[in-house]
């Protein structure tokens, strides 16, 4: 009787130890992300092939909400690491001192455009996320519209009321468009361009992917959005063309950064290291035609071949540091005028 009890006890203890040691090995890493919902599982699975001991706990939402969440939690961060959020947002966090700089292994394999310029970078990019125009061919024909080929084309009177774009005050994509126009056409030229474009805009949406989806659904013929969304819609059978305007396109990247103060620094660094490995980059490449790894990317279906060449030399710092000013100016010019008759 006493013997069995001892056995039971030691057995239980052993089991407990096992559980604890197991728990000690597998780290739960809270990862904030804006990566497409359908890609999350694939990303985590691929990562776990190499690092089964790190358990990713995804916190996913749209770019705006994840950013707002991180900013709201500034004094009490919940995240350990960000994997897949717009670099623009990460710049914002960097300037709040929220990021823990870290130089991941293999950084030299990356195009310098794809990481923070500081000697120890605060963030490292994954893939690029490019602006594009989605053009619904069926609706275009119905309305006798020719497909636009440049940004300037969109200001032609023919397109009046047929263009839709995201509101930069509520959408990161919208801001990406605006800041790229200011860089392409210069500050004054940019505003002149938007003044003209505003005449043709049917309305501004709150979300960046919505214009393309609306174009795909024929709700409006032309949506200023980003290429990824267009490609997905095209894949789903929408009658749309993805147009990369000739003047060049603004872009942002999905990037990775470690949150300052995390108590799981080692695991976070492991993930950061892995996030720029060739394997990871190939994984990103299945959806995105432009990735950070030099000379790796293969073309992705439905993305026009000129995508990479037309990406402008985006000045993220300019965008971040002038964001408030640009948004205020935009709001003054177009939001207060949006009162319908």
């Amino acid at each position: 009787m006493k013997h069995t009890l001892c056995k039971l006890l030691s057995g239980g203890l052993a089991a407990l130890l096992l559980v604890f040691s197991g728990a000690g090995n597998a780290v739960d890493l809270t990862v904030y992300t804006a990566v497409e919902a359908e890609d999350l599982k694939r990303y985590a699975d691929t990562f776990n092939q190499d690092h089964p001991d790190i358990n990713i706990k995804w916190v996913r939402d749209s770019t705006g909400i994840v950013t707002a969440k991180l900013m709201a939690e500034k004094d009490n961060p919940q995240a350990d690491i960000i994997w897949g959020l717009a670099a623009t947002s990460l710049l914002l966090m960097k300037s709040e001192g929220m990021l823990d700089p870290y130089k991941p292994k293999g950084l030299k394999n990356l195009d310098p455009k794809f990481y923070d310029g500081d000697s120890v970078p605060s963030w490292v990019g994954m893939d690029a996320w490019v602006a594009a125009v989605c053009f619904n061919t069926v609706e275009g024909k119905k309305n006798n519209l020719t497909a636009p080929t440049s940004w300037k084309d969109l200001t032609k009177p023919m397109y009046k009321g047929h263009v839709i774009m995201p509101n930069p005050n509520s959408s990161g994509t919208g801001f990406l468009d605006v800041s790229s126009w200011l860089q392409i056409f210069g500050e004054d030229g940019g505003w002149d361009y938007m003044d003209a474009l505003h005449e043709n805009i049917a309305r501004y949406t709150h979300s960046g992917s919505k214009p393309c989806k609306l174009a795909a659904a024929g709700e409006i013929p032309i949506g200023v959005s980003f290429a990824f969304r267009g490609a997905r819609s095209k894949e789903a059978g929408a009658p749309i063309d993805i147009i990369i305007p000739s003047e060049g396109i603004g872009w942002d990247m999905e990037a990775t950064a470690i949150i300052a103060g995390t108590d799981k620094l080692k695991a976070a660094q492991t993930l950061m290291d892995w996030s720029i490995t060739k394997k990871a980059m190939e994984m990103y490449n299945t959806s995105y035609p432009v990735v950070g790894y030099k000379n790796l990317a293969k073309p992705v279906k439905h993305f026009p071949p000129e995508t990479l060449s037309r990406m402008i030399d985006n000045d993220f710092e300019f965008a971040a540091n002038n964001r408030k000013r640009i948004l205020a100016e935009w709001q003054k010019r177009y939001d207060s005028k949006s009162d319908p008759k």
Binding site: S209, E219, E317
Partner: protein, 689 residues
Amino acid sequence: MMTSAAQATVQAINTAAPLIRPKTSRDDKIMIGYMLVVGLYLIIALALPLYAMLSKSVSTFYFDLNNFEFQVNNGDGWSAPATAFALNEKLKREKLKREKLQAVQPEQLTTSSDGRLAATVFFPDFSFRGSTRYRIRQINPASSFLVGSRQIVDTEWHEFESNEFRRIYLRASRSTGLDNYRVYFSTPALFLSMKNSLLISLISTLITVSLAFGFAYALARSTMRFKGLFRIIAMAPILVPSLLPGIALVYLFGNQGMLKELLLGESIYGPIGIVIGSVFFTFPHAMIIITTALAISDARLYEAAISLRASRWKTFWTVTIPGARYGLFSAAFVVFNLVITDFGLPKVIGGQYNMLAVDIYKQVIGQQNFEMGAVVSVILLIPALLAFSIDRVVQKKQVAQLSARSVPFEPKPHKQFDAICLIYCVLVTVFIAGLIGVCQYAALIKFWPYDLSLSLNNYNFDVMDGGGWVSWYNSIRLALYTAVAGTIIVFCGAYMVEKTNRFVATRSAFQFLAMMPMAIPGMVLGLAYIFFFNNPANPLNGIYATMGILVVCTVTHFYTVSHLTAVTALKQMDREFESVASSLKQPFYKLLSKVTVPVCLPAVLDISIYLFVNAMTTVSAVIFLYSPDTTLASVAVLNMDDAGDIAPAAAMGMMIFYSNLCARLLHLFVTRKVMRKTQAWRTREGGSD
């Protein structure tokens, strides 16, 4: 005969009798303890978050020019340190001479938490190709500056070449004041929203109340058929999120809409869409209130009118309208409040027509400007609070007006009138059922408008934004928790208020707190929760980003109506039950469990279904509070629509509708069953006296 007590009495004639401090019984102690708990709940879940939001709205940011010092070296040694303020003053003076110079104006110094000011503005001759070197430091570490996006918080001197110096941006210091409000009112785009919100709310209120009045009038005053069916269909909008009609309207009147031509070229995206959608989702609320108002009107007045040979038309204006006027007022205020605080609908169908509730979202989610979000919230509180207090005053008057001796009105058949009523009700119910039907249809279409074959693809939520099927499951969980926890909290709170004899001050304070949530827009509450609970110094920080905070927020958001339902039920109980129980030395909780709760069971069930349905449909209160583990169906509808997945959004919306429908049916079934079992005393024949 003179007892010593009597002698004492005689002696004490001039001295006052001893004052009595009632001994507090165990029951009293438990009750006050519980009242404190529920009171504390309301303070934590309502008062403190609102306070946190108010403080946030007066938390301002400004560029403290006196805190930054610069030195310049043109190759001839470092100049004396000069503050940014001094440099700017110099610029102002020199501006008189040199036209092109731009000094920083005082209003530019007010900014938000994210404000940045380029250091180069203080150096009019700056050229990034120049060989001049610059030094900058802050005098005390209250603010910071950026080199590119690297934040410098120390007070050392930092030296830069020209090319680097153009990357220097000053950051703002924190302060307190009303500057955010000043900025709000001087920004036309923001100010415009207030006008828009008021206008839309007024128009929607006018239309909804008129339509609902006609509907309620037809139900109460005609002898048409299908009254029950009409009533049921008219109640359906309560079961869906407010943004669902928006989705239906896109399918009906959008550019690819089935009935697009009806709009004669006007766009559904904007005020028209918001108003139609608002009428849809506020209709049942107005109808319930007006139906009640019409039901209590006195048949004797109509008999009098008939005996005076007044025409139907005249009777309508002299008897019906005055009799129902408080109900109409009340309905108007409820509708107004619902519309002005609604967020989902303008977000979905509003286009760029700005409304206050959407502005909060834009400020917080789009620009991460929490301070301005708080300012807009406070502003949104004003019309809501105003409508609420006017309604309270009107309601008080109404109580005085009601006569207990009224005779219910029995409508008499009138062919023509009944036919008109029938047509009218058919039109209204077709509108309501139509919008819901369109959503269901849209949810089943493969790819509107290019592939009209039916499929269940849109129900494949797991590959879309919004959290997938888990969201729906989470919503059910939230609704259940809210219904259970909320009913217990609310009912016990109401019991304490209604059935305690003592602690008058505590009780009225509690009553005030319980009435508050009705005037607080969900969005404002949700934002206030972020400020309050997401503070590491808050010991309750742990519930942030859990299901718990969603339950607390939802219970609080819908507290008032539940509380009033409970109070009404409790008021109908004999006031002396508690006295009898204590004279029989039975604790109050025994009375509560054996008598009060069983007798009030119908009301208890009503409260739970009310909380359940609202927890399923609410968007505004939880939009800022859900976490990835607690994504909700109603928010998923919004996010899917936001991402352009309109058909799946409609599908999820319909899932909410069906869930609520099931809950309602279950509630009906349980109520019937429970009634039969525990309320037997109600249904049996009374004895004869």
